[in-house]
């Protein structure tokens, strides 16, 4: 079952076509890597999918709703974690969870149980009342991912979620991603790190507004006769 189907998704700014009629589908429970060089249209595409920007053309559904006409319904079914670390640093861990729970209209009881679950998952029980700003970056990012899932969304969009942390911490973060995907949540992730691309179930690579390649890491390496995703990427982008 597909949770995202994009058919000729397009975005133009005046004469410039940032996203040029891209089509792809993402299955439920899949970890979908969305790659591309800077300026390839990757950020514009993800902004359309999460409702921050209106598509100029194409028909796209996200979580079963139409992107142009039912964007309000979509918002309730998706979570988002941006590349800028996006929790409130001056609020405590608990206050952040409570706030986002409230924003998504969760009941007091649900918020309480979700808070307990998240604190447990990120192993922050002892730091629940600490300011988020005082946590190490890796912890903030895992907390941010957990908070993006506070309302049990179908899809979580992660926009370069692991910028600036070491490989070991990145690995920990990906453990969380796998656990979420195993529970049936779809993960749509953009990244600069090619080792992370290897972790994805399937990958699309955007070049100049179009999807230049799409497939599992294994298929792509075979197709471009490369040893790693890094080589695949370089061959496409050059």
């Amino acid at each position: 079952m597909n949770v995202i189907t994009a058919t000729n998704l397009t975005k133009t700014f005046g004469n410039f076509t940032a996203v040029d009629a891209i089509s792809f589908a993402v299955k439920r429970g899949e970890v979908f890597g969305f790659l591309g060089a800077n300026g390839a249209g990757k950020t514009t595409a993800i902004k359309m999918l999460i409702g921050l920007s209106k598509p100029s053309g194409g028909s796209t559904t996200v979580a079963g709703f139409d992107l142009t006409t039912q964007s309000e319904k979509i918002k309730e079914r998706i979570g988002y974690m941006s590349q800028k670390f996006s929790l409130y640093e001056d609020l405590s861990v608990r206050q952040n969870i409570n706030f986002y729970g409230g924003v998504y209209g969760l009941s007091r009881k649900t918020i309480r149980s979700q808070t307990a679950r998240i604190l447990d998952e990120v192993e922050l029980q002892a730091n629940a009342n600490d300011k988020v700003g005082s946590l190490p970056l890796g912890w903030k990012q895992r907390l941010s991912f957990a908070v993006a899932s506070v309302h049990d969304p179908d899809i979580v969009f992660l926009d370069e979620p692991t910028g600036g942390v070491d490989p070991a911490t990145r690995r920990q973060f990906w453990e969380m991603i796998y656990a979420a995907a195993a529970g049936g949540r779809t993960i749509f992730v953009t990244t600069h790190y090619m080792d992370e691309a290897e972790y994805c179930d399937r990958i699309s690579i955007m070049v100049a507004g179009k999807i230049a390649a799409l497939g599992t890491p294994g298929e792509l390496k075979q197709q471009y006769q490369a040893n790693s995703m890094g080589e695949v990427f370089l061959r496409l982008v050059r």
Partner: protein, 367 residues
């Protein structure tokens, strides 16, 4: 509704966490009122005066006594020559010099023309003008008292200052400070807090959530409306109990006007934040486009009628101008709506225009 409450609660956490902002929010109005009340004042007492009395007769002594006993002036010296007086001025020891001509008394009673000379230190023009005015008023009274009689055809002028007979400067600065502080909290703080969400990237998260833009804005501004109103009350109470500034008109009308002005200022803050992408830009925008003109051109510090034509026009688009008019109308003159509908209408119109502009900007951004 629930998400709105969650939002307001979050905003309060932000404000309460930030002790520095809290100190500014409540310390500044108190500091401003006290500074304006005690330091920046047009009232004066015991201005140092030197008199060159060339007459040395009964009448001249009486005149000097009258000047000094008014309480406004203090006789510090009686130099013999103009050069000595000049030295006193240079040393800054006197602010006003009085020169009484010889034969003052005899000329006066023979109704010959006699002229006193007043010299004031013009390096502080406002102060000098005030000293001269007070001085000549005292001389005028003195003259009238002594020169009575049938053959005297002088036209007497009786002056009365309405609404503020004692020329208490607090009557002017309390409304002014209220206008500035409300602008600061409502416009500047709001634009700052919205710009902060943009800068930190949390705004994107809010826009991705099911919250409507209206809820976001309302959630953002609600705490600042409450803060502004409590600050306005604080300043008015300080004015009432410390400086005896009355509220002659309706208290509820006054509250209503404060609320209206807070809305105008909030919409200004929102408009600035739709344009500014960082806190610094928002800060600069509010300081230079709002705070400076409101201080200087709203009639708070300089009278509008004495401004050049161009600046009067600028003053006419500053919300604080109308708000100060409303405040003075209610507090000092006890006026009601039938006299104040015009400034009220202007503020309301400004608010609607500003909000529409913000909405328009916001729409463009999310396209």
């Amino acid at each position: 509704m629930q998400s709105y409450l969650a939002f307001v609660r979050k905003e309060f956490y932000h404000i309460l966490r930030d002790t520095r902002t809290l100190v500014i929010l409540f310390g500044m109005p108190i500091a401003q009122v006290l500074i304006f009340g005690y330091a920046v004042t047009n009232e004066f007492r015991d201005a140092p005066v030197a008199v060159i009395d060339n007459a040395r007769d009964e009448l001249s002594r009486e005149l000097v006594h009258e000047l000094v006993s008014s309480g406004y002036f203090k006789l510090v010296d009686q130099p013999a020559t103009a050069d000595e007086l000049d030295a006193l001025f240079r040393a800054g020891e006197v602010k006003l010099g009085v020169f009484i001509p010889p034969d003052f008394e005899s000329d006066f009673f023979r109704r010959k023309q006699t002229t006193l000379q007043f010299l004031a230190d013009g390096s502080d023009p406002n102060y000098a003008t005030t000293l001269l005015n007070y001085g000549s008023q005292i001389v005028g009274n003195f003259q009238q008292r002594h020169a009575g009689g049938p053959e005297n055809y002088q036209v007497g002028v009786e002056m009365q200052l309405m609404y503020n007979p004692e020329l208490i400067s607090a009557y002017n600065f309390i409304p002014g400070v209220v206008a500035i502080i409300l602008l600061l909290i409502s416009a500047m703080m709001t634009s700052l807090t919205i710009a902060k969400e943009k800068e930190m990237g949390t705004m994107d998260l809010l826009l991705v959530s099911p919250l409507s833009p209206l809820t976001i804005i309302l959630g953002k501004v609600t705490p600042y409306v409450l803060l502004s109103m409590s600050n306005a009350l604080l300043i008015l109470l300080l004015g009432y109990f410390v400086f005896d500034v009355p509220v002659l008109g309706s208290f509820w009308l006054l509250t209503g006007f404060c609320l209206l002005y807070v809305l105008t200022a909030l919409s200004l803050g929102i408009l600035i934040s739709t344009k500014a992408s960082s806190q610094q830009a928002a800060m600069m925008g509010s300081l230079f486009s709002l705070l400076m003109p409101s201080m200087l051109l709203s009639g708070f510090i300089f009278p509008i009628t004495s401004m050049p034509w161009m600046l009067q026009k600028v003053s006419g688009v500053i919300p604080a101008t109308y708000f100060i008019e409303l405040l003075k109308g209610v507090m000092l003159k006890g006026l009601g709506m039938q006299y104040l509908w015009f400034p009220t209408l202007v503020l309301a119109t400004m608010t609607v225009v500003l909000l529409s502009l913000s909405w328009f900007n916001f729409k463009i951004r999310t396209k």
